[in-house]
Amino acid sequence: MGGVTLLRNKFGKLAVSTLAGAMLMVTAACGGGTDSGTAASPEASKSGLKVGLAFDVGGRGDKSFNDSAYAGLERAQKELGAEIKDLSPAGDGSNRGALLEQLAQAGYNPIIGIGFAYEADVKKVAAEYPDLQFAIVDSGSSGPNVTGLTFAEHQGSYLAGVAAALKSKSGHIGFVGGVKGALIEKFEAGFVAGAKATKPDIKIASEYLAPEGQFDGFKAPEKGKAEAEKMFQDGVDIVYHAAGDSGVGVFQATVEANKNGGGKWAIGVDSDQALTIKEADQQKIIMTSMLKRVDNGVYEFIKAFKDGAKGGQTVAYDLKVDGVGLSTTGDHISDVQAKVDEAKAKIVSGEITVPDKP
């Protein structure tokens, strides 16, 4: 790195180390002090229930995972009369622990962390505040006052795989994951298993936008677009994404691919994206969405807390309790619904065990 050598000549070693330190600071503190979203209850707390919720990277308004959690929180506000507060982390998620502390100190109980990235922080803060109840989405319980809320994404993705295999005309489908790692691999594993079980000779392209731990893969629409474009050029006609905000790029690529001859589809994730996405041209190409009912998980947890339930266990939301499933907005999969329901019944009965690792 000639630049560094030059800098050293120029400023001396001290300056170089300052620069290095400064750059570290930037990465660590990037928006470390950014404000967070708040939403105070309009009709104050009738029940004395104060629920605090800290979002995953992407925050409120991601039209997907976080917004689904917020829907559950809102329902608790309406139906249980809870006072609610939600905080969004900094762009790089470095202040997750601080958000939980902030909620705990402000007297919120229970406190919910959205996303597996909260695992370590929830464990730590829950140990510091043993009198408060915590919940974490996408991770198991890590203490006597922590409730784990996990979802069987692989089962829902299996159904998406079944639907994609049946709807694909080219016999070639694709999967775009945001960030490599155990959680997103569950989506991939289920999708592949479902497609292969339906059509053994189907071709599946599977790609990730970022390596493990590099969470910007969830917010890089240009990369999602590039990846999906490549798949469509290779003959893929249905792409399933589990890539957060980057999924918007997948939808854009699908809209563009349909300009040169139709029949290309995208499958959304987490929320019913044909409803949460506002762009009309993108709504039309979303065949279905793999629903992950984080809203149900959050609401049920708050309700159970109100009824006096204590933490220390992990609640699994799977197909049996409709914790995951496929959306039907637009009626694009009504012709294969019977087969999808059949697969669902088999999973619920235990006849099919869906793998959660690729």
Partner: protein, 427 residues
Amino acid sequence: MTTVEAVGTRRVRRYHLALIGVALAIVLLSLVRVLAGSTDLTSSGTFAIALAFAVPIGLAGLGGLWAERAGVVNIGLEGMMVLGTWFAGWAGYQWGATAAVVAGLLGGALGGLVHAIATVSFGVDHIISGVAINLIGPGVTRFLSEVLYAEGSPANEAGAGITSSPTLSSPAPEVSLPLFSSGSDWLGKLENTHWFLLSDVAGILRGLTHEVNVLIIVAVALIPLSYYVLWRTAFGLRLRSCGENPWAAESLGVNVYLTKYIAVVISGALAGLGGVFLVFVATKYVEGQTGGRGFIGLAAMIFGNWRPGGLAAGASLFGYADGLQLRSSQAVTGLFLLGALLLILYVGMRLRRGPLGDQGAGHYTVVGLSALGAAVFFWLWLTVEALPSEFVFITPHVLTLLVLSVASQRLRMPKADGVPYRRGDQH
């Protein structure tokens, strides 16, 4: 008279060398493409993405060039770029693509102005001011999002959230070269025949001319334009003199403060334009979409020895590696073969220069290691079916690091770059 001629012939030779280098690179790439069978190495899709990834890096690098040529170190490019993305998203969803460009330029220029006030007027350390701007950029934009995109606001109805703006109301226009890359699409047809060299050239040309965002054309044009303004006009000479020796410039009547102000504001505007381009690609503002491109642009500028042509080469290299990695993890293994061929070429050139003994003992080691490296790369290409994804993801960074360490041995930054200047001070 003779010196003028000597300079003239040397310039011609360097220009020719660059052309020969590019031609050689294309021949090598097509050879590797045929041997390794990974069409993505030279496909139009890869080059289209490479171009799209190189543009924001190149614009940030150009921004760095303008500031540093005037003697102000600008590591705040990232923050200025973030301001550019936010303002482009905010103006774009209301008034369309043109407004997005104007607002992004202004947003970036605002960041530049803050940097200029701090460093030029108040003599704040350039690094500290730059770091502050990198912190302020994301902070201010998050604050603005919370105020303007909050629940219940009209923007929120249109699809905004705390971390993203609504979609642009009109997309940026895209143009293609008629007949060649659209309509009858001659280049596309030629590319699909997969002939040696011809198809590769066609693929590259098609990638660079098919459905190209107008902002890409502007960005590419800005490189020779920057060269012209900085090296061929009186204003450019004054600006560069502020970066080399502001005290001498002052003694000749140059308004150093004003010149530095102009340079840093233009620098911020260029970084902001890089942000606008990212917004155009995503069709909306997404928090964190700059992804460190401001820093990479700065590295591209240093790689390019504080010159426009060099920084364009650096940005293209990173764009290509990043695009290839995304397009095809399998094509990345083709790079092993490329590495082996390059090293063999290097050994050949070394041996042609005469017996090794005449060139000193150290050269045995260099040639020996190069030959060994070539053998290892070749063996890797033969045996490795697909790279583990962890390696594929870091390819662009490894490639950039390698090229940087090989190519950037003799760099010269502007002499008074980063040195505080006070009017009237003796030096």
